[in-house]
Symmetry: C3
Amino acid sequence: MFSRALSVRAPRRGLHEITEAVAEAVGKSRVETGVCNLFIRHTSASLIIQENYDPSARRDLEAFLDRLVPEGAPWITHTLEGPDDMPSHIKSVLTQVSLTIPVQGGKLALGTWQGIYLWEHRDSPTPREIVVSVF
Amino acid sequence: MFSRALSVRAPRRGLHEITEAVAEAVGKSRVETGVCNLFIRHTSASLIIQENYDPSARRDLEAFLDRLVPEGAPWITHTLEGPDDMPSHIKSVLTQVSLTIPVQGGKLALGTWQGIYLWEHRDSPTPREIVVSVF
Amino acid sequence: MFSRALSVRAPRRGLHEITEAVAEAVGKSRVETGVCNLFIRHTSASLIIQENYDPSARRDLEAFLDRLVPEGAPWITHTLEGPDDMPSHIKSVLTQVSLTIPVQGGKLALGTWQGIYLWEHRDSPTPREIVVSVF
């Protein structure tokens, strides 16, 4: 079991590709055939796999989730940490806290157009810890 | 491969923390560095990881999902098992049936504010079986 | 680590059960106690586990997601590949790219009413590759 912690600070709220950093950890693991599990140790940022070709797909994804989970809704009571906090928790629940990706030939077996993304939901990003386990 | 079944009956519809029961199974597994997979064997209850500090965050999460997936919508045709049944299936699809969490130093490597929750979506909860696999 | 690629072409947009094909791969793996990970190598189709008894539950699930993520919304900018493309990406993010299911007694430890589904989100389905890893 190979385990490594990645610390990633997104430059701003939104989707930030981390495929390269994960691929590097997989290479270091020396696992040829197996799986790679990613786990984010936070509740206001999350992980997804999505198209890594056209940036407009990412912008539309962000727009969709901002519309689905608006800030300042009248039924929100958890407001102490700012208007972007409770929507961040909801957004992280609707996406992923953990992802498991096959490893084949020593590499992530992602599809041609798939990239791995950290989805930062807060307006003032802090460093996020992602545990990479390869086995 | 350590495997154990947890049977959990939530006292009512909503989020119910199961972190302690999962941590106990991980302790019994004697795995030092690995992962813990949780799988719920039902389609009207689900699993999430979320903030375990302020109860208002959980109440707002429940309020959000009840608004997103209302009971009694005119397009719902699967109604034989009551008005809370079809919304339960939809809610379970939008959250998680399985979670994989790293194990480090013999313990769940959760973030400081992360807890593991059973999300019971039915009004009259029955016991739910969750398979814990540690390896 | 047993690894096998399934190629599945859904007959039409919507939910298509793949439980039998996955169970067959698990049987071939000869794993008695372990887990089975599924990973779909696409960003416009996804995986879920859901009720496999009453077809009306699946129809309502499809109806819900089509209402939640409508085609032709004015804020969608990623439109080059047709009106069903961007909604497909959003739908795949709200459901699952990977699932991990326990294996017990050489079989998938699904609940009584659980089935595994490929959710094809495009109108003109192409073959989809799903990697099955058993360990």
